[in-house]
């Protein structure tokens, strides 16, 4: 715990906690839509942005935000057009993103493997006060958007056609999700790294839904698991000298195993009780 007296460690912790809260709040909509791996793909694209930043001596975080937003909007437009060729189009975009990133980083002055690893797997310890300001600002914006628009985003991800007939601005909401995904990926890049970003969006949601019944309770529990895993990940990685991103993801996965176990125990007596509770209507279920 002595480590937390160092300012760089406190900055690392603050950044991790913000992302631990914001990533699952966004990730729940992606999981609901069965787009769990989209964050991973946008992460690949963001690496090209990092390469552009290093090559042009701009802030890599800033260029990564711009490139990954462009990538996310492109993905959304492909998804909207139709599903048939979408899968292949996404694959091309993602591999183009990571290959472009590796080449551009290699061409830059700072072409060491260490700098590539820093973005691929995260490096909290080098997080500057300016980085924390950017992470806090963008993280708060993502979190507020996800909470304020929850009813509309829930309706959209649950049934897009129904949302359209309800007169909701479906395209704007889809683009909001695409842009916030890109922003979350980029700010989480410094904490867990581009290759593990998606885990922080998806794993806490997967863990939460083992024991929850509704959307709102899943979202609340997922954010709680996310923030605890991120906090514990930073502290533990400082203590035992491991990579903070990977440590955080392993803790979130441990939470998933735990809730899966709890869920299995919980549902067993519940299922036995169910037929008695449904005794009143003689439901002839024709459709299985």
């Amino acid at each position: 715990m002595d480590l937390l007296t160092y300012p760089f460690m406190l900055r690392a912790l603050a950044g991790a906690l913000i992302i631990g809260l914001a990533a699952p709040a966004l990730g729940i909509y992606l999981v609901q839509r069965r787009l769990s791996l989209i964050g991973d793909g946008i992460g690949h694209v963001a690496l090209t942005g990092v390469g552009v930043g290093l090559l042009t001596h701009q802030s890599p975080v800033l260029t990564a935000v711009l490139v990954s937003v462009a990538g996310a909007v492109a993905v959304e437009l492909v998804r909207e057009r139709g599903r048939t060729s979408g899968d292949l189009a996404l694959a091309l975009l993602f591999y183009g993103g990571i290959a472009g990133g590796v080449v551009l980083v290699g061409l830059s002055d700072d072409s060491s493997n260490a700098s590539l690893m820093q973005y691929l797997f995260g490096s909290l310890i080098t997080t500057s006060p300016q980085d924390i300001a950017v992470i806090a600002g963008l993280g708060a914006a993502v979190l507020i958007a996800m909470l304020v628009f929850r009813p509309a985003l829930f309706a959209l991800c649950n049934d897009e056609e129904y949302a359209r007939v309800s007169g909701l601005p479906v395209r704007t909401l889809n683009l909001l999700l695409a842009v916030t995904t890109a922003v979350t990926v980029t700010i989480a890049m410094r904490t867990v790294g581009l290759l593990l970003v998606s885990a922080l969006m998806v794993v806490p949601v997967a863990a939460a839904q083992q024991v929850t019944r509704g959307f709102r309770s899943t979202m609340t529990l997922a954010m709680l698991i996310g923030v605890c895993a991120a906090g514990a990940g930073v502290v533990l990685s400082g203590e035992i000298d491991t990579a903070p991103g990977a440590t955080t993801v392993l803790i979130a996965l441990a939470a998933f195993l735990l809730t899966t176990g709890i869920g299995a125990l919980w549902h067993r007596p519940h299922r036995k009780a169910a037929p008695q509770a449904q005794a009143e209507p003689p439901d002839v279920v024709i459709h299985a």
Binding site: Y162, V165, S166, G167, G214, F215, P282, D283, I286
Partner: protein, 260 residues
Amino acid sequence: MSVVEVRHLAAGYDGREILRDVDLSVASGDVVAVLGANGSGKSTLIRTILGLVPVRRGEIDLFGTAQRRFRQWSRIGYVPQRIGAGSGVPATVGEVVASGRLARRGLFRPPGAADRAAVHEALAAVGLLDRIGDPVGTLSGGQQQRTLIARALAGKPDLLVLDEPTAGVDAASQEAFAGALTEFAANGGTIMLVLHELGPLRPLIGRAVVVHDGRIAHEGVPPEPAGHHAEPGHDHVHPHADEAKAGICEWAPTEGTKAY
């Protein structure tokens, strides 16, 4: 007043024209069944009216306004064929039904007491109030369909549009359905529903429209029951569980029917 007015409508997907030349008028308070074989275009017709399928030619007016300029979507309650694909995360019956309030409430206003009251009222109308806190995934197919009806009713629409609401639904749910729709129609609501068979909804339906090969083939009073339903002494007011299967009515033009 005309609620839905369709003139010379042609529509389709991906270069394939499914509707060729459709004229249809639905007045306030009408209960219209859209019948037809699989692939006839009956679902495409209502999906085009709702703006889910692009119009190729012709015009659609909703409540007297051209569909392109229509913004009062809270006046329309849509009941799709089945619960949406986005069910990766659990959601309670109450949460799904609450989505029905969005058209009325808008994007920015948080749900209030009126929204909660409307959700309760709609769930009571379909007989699912006791399941409000249960995950939708634990419900039977018929109960999930009733949840979707409740979602549409929660917005207090003037027009209900239903796409094969009774397909593969258990008898108890079919009756709950018929009850909720009868109440909605009795309060002056307009209903358009795509059906494969009339079943327990038959007494409710004022007019049947048959779509064939992208056109309206027949329009008129609903067909008389055939087979088991036509037997003497058959009581139509209280359909029983086993009749849901037997009540598949082949449509044939009868007296009072316009044949084109």
